[in-house]
Amino acid sequence: MSSTQAPLFSATAITKNFGGVQALRGVDFDVVPGEIHALLGQNGAGKSTLVKILNGVHPAGSYTGTVQLDGRPVSFASPADARSNGVGYVPQEIEVLEQLSVAENVFAGRTGLGDGVLVHQRRLEQRAAEIFADLGIDMDPRAYVASLTSAQRHLVMIARAIVLKPRVLMLDEPTASLSGTEVDALFSVLRRLKAQGVAMIYITHRLPEVLAICDRATVLRDGQVAVRIAREDFDAETFIFSMSGQRLQRLFPEHAAPVGAPAALEVRHLTVAGHGGAVHGAKDIDLSVAAGEIVGLAGLLGSGRSEILHGIYGRVPAEGEIHVGGQAVSIKSPRDARAAGIALLTEDRKRDGLLFNLPVGANITIGNLAPLSRHGVVRGGLERGAIVTAMRALNVKASSPQAAVTHLSGGNQQKLLFARVLMRAPKVLLLDEPTKGVDAATRHEIYRLVVELADKGVALLIVASELEELIGLCDRCLVVADGRIVDEFGRGEGGEGRVLRSVTKAQAERQAQVTA
């Protein structure tokens, strides 16, 4: 696309703070009619914050800088406001009403077609059919959405965004749940929209897609524009370099992988079924972690890295062999995993970590009460002592063991959960995003704790989205893409670039396989 064309939609000098953390620092971004502009960057680079500003989720006033449409400043108060101004958004998660028909979903929220309270079923179907024909999509408007595949549902969501004839369309990871041929179908829809002059912002992690369909790319890093590249200069290597460039240096405590230590955890042919859609599951995973070793699972969201941890812990049904300390163990449930000396720290504290109905102390001892009780009766003094010891050891700051967990900071909640999983002195510790949503000080405490545990001979397997953290902390990194381990390197043998390259290569191979 010629860059001489006047931008249709632009953002200038956008800065956005989240409680002292700068998510965006003076970002400029624009898109011209008939252009597909890729927005790239690692997790936490600021992509989603920028998109949320552009479509009104973060309303005008909550950020500084200007957003312009057609050269006129606009300030969206809500996503609905953005929509009615011609800025459409297709979210990553599929949000459809399963019990309704395709046509009703396409016109969700405006089934009256603007004139009254009655639903004009036939006209809805006609209009939906017109939109599908226009986009080159072959779909029956009367079909129920419940019967559609996830790819078809995604197309329904795109059609829904198209109803208002947006001039700007933002697509957030549109291919996350699509297979190779479905991606091709999506691309042909995007090409049609492009021919109609729609300006598109394409958010993705997948470089092969950028190379295939985008006209321009902007790479965000640490809340700033790292580089803006035109199509003629597209090159996977350039993208990887600019996405992974130097960031603020973090200090990681020193740790050397133990030499000749026996494998504490050995996994052979572990296969976890995917749930369809964005969750890929894991296929035929082999890995081993020595006692005292810190191993990282690097990969994108949905690559299957969490599923590997869940499979080992028996949280989801998995096939394969698991050996702990040289002994084959059969793990059918978390209970079995715990009995084998495996502990898991889950990613989402609120959803599957904390018990909000119990106070701090009981949250630490839950599941660990056997040694603190006699004949099934909890021994109060013993429990209090264990709680106080655990809170001191991990520096959990709470007014008392009776305090409510809701009011602890994210960092203290995380340390509390560490206290819970460590109370049984596990031999193998699985950590899923151990530093997610914690402050900088706690982050360092957690790094130190991880190294300390490794020094004591605990085998650690860690999943973290921040590659820099994972690489800095781990003795060895395994790169996961589409549910498989595609690369492996030791400390000092590779950086973020290597991870991104391996992932991109694996994705390109997969795409080639599917189309072949």
């Binding site: 978390p334 715990r338 889950t346 599957d352 018990l355 119990l358 009766v377 009776q402």
Partner: protein, 336 residues
């Protein structure tokens, strides 16, 4: 054991006293007890006969029946489920036990065990269907309410089972103290045991974890299905026992035993601070809640309020109690 407790527990200074006090108030029974004291005083001022021996005895007697079920319902609510079929189960178990003793001419002990067995079996069925098939407890136990009512008619043919063996009448008629009988004794003992189990045992703690967040409980190795099914069985068995005590009290296996209890029981325990959303509340609270509900009903009768208004009062009190509970939680959790 004592020395270990002394070594590891911190000295009881002023701060820990304050904490205990807050904990005490925040537990929930205290608020309900205070409210009940006020209500008792109110009714007594309006009509001193409210505190007559006869009236107190009548209240406690009624409370002992529904209270037995409230114990089970509290445990089940703590585990994150609830049971609407308790009244039907009470009635069905009573008539089955009565039939076993009379029509089948089995020994009284076997009849009683049969009744408890029916209750436990229905609890098991409810639990299995809710936990394994994932049918919501509301639907499953509502269905069971109707099934139970139907079975009562099937078993009895619509006629009360009468006369019952003398042993049953003896159980119903025994005056242990203050005119209160075996049902009250059982109620008190069961309440104390259940309260202790929920408060102090690993089983109890795991029950709270299961009701608080099933996924977390599962991840820390708790067999949440077993806990939920166990709680359903407990409430079923306790409903059966309550139903048979009523039968003994009446001296007949009446077909209307237990009818309408399900809502009284749930209203009562909720008034006592047991959360409908699971994981919060105590047996003491649930029992006091039931007592308060009955105090209000009886008080309104004693001061001569039209019986239609009693229903309205129960409704208002339940909504108010839950409202107060929400405010109290907000205040104490915010202040902690």
């Amino acid at each position: 054991m004592n020395s270990a407790a002394e070594v590891s527990s911190p000295p009881r200074d002023a701060q820990s006293f304050r904490r205990r006090l807050i904990g005490f108030i925040a537990v929930g029974e205290v608020g309900v007890l205070a409210a009940m004291a006020l209500l008792v005083a109110f009714f007594w001022l309006l009509e001193p006969a409210f505190l007559s021996e006869r009236n107190i005895r009548a209240i406690l007697n009624v409370v002992s029946f529904v209270g037995i079920i409230a114990i089970g319902q509290t445990i089940l609510l703590v585990a994150g489920e609830f049971d609407l079929s308790v009244g039907s189960v009470a009635g069905l178990s009573a008539v089955v036990a009565a039939k076993l003793m009379t029509a089948a001419a089995l020994p009284v002990g076997v009849g009683i065990l049969g009744g408890i067995g029916v209750g436990a079996l229905i609890g098991l069925l409810n639990g299995l269907i809710v936990v394994r098939l994932g049918i919501p407890a509301f639907i499953q136990t509502l269905g069971m309410l109707f099934i139970g009512q139907g079975l009562i008619q099937v078993v009895t043919g619509g006629y009360p089972v009468y006369p019952l063996p003398e042993a049953i009448n003896t159980i119903g008629g025994t005056d242990l103290a203050f005119g209160l009988g075996w049902s009250f004794a059982f109620f008190i003992i069961a309440a104390v045991v259940a309260d202790f189990v929920l408060r102090r045992t690993v089983l109890g703690r795991n029950m709270y974890a299961t009701g608080g967040n099933k996924e977390v409980a599962h991840l820390v190795g708790i067999n949440t299905s077993a806990y939920k099914i166990g709680a359903f069985i407990t409430v079923g068995a306790l409903s059966a026992i309550a139903g048979m005590f009523v039968m003994a009290d009446l001296g007949s296996g009446g077909t209307s035993i237990g009818s309408g209890w399900e809502l009284t029981v749930i209203a009562g325990v909720v008034v006592g601070g047991v959360s409908l959303f699971g994981g919060a509340g105590t047996v003491a609270g649930g029992v006091v809640g039931i007592l308060m509900l009955k105090v209000v009903q009886s008080g309104l009768v004693v001061i001569g309020v039209n019986s239609n208004w009693q229903q309205i009062a129960v409704g208002v009190i339940m909504v108010m109690a839950v409202g107060l509970d929400i405010v109290r939680r907000r205040y104490f959790i915010a202040g902690a």
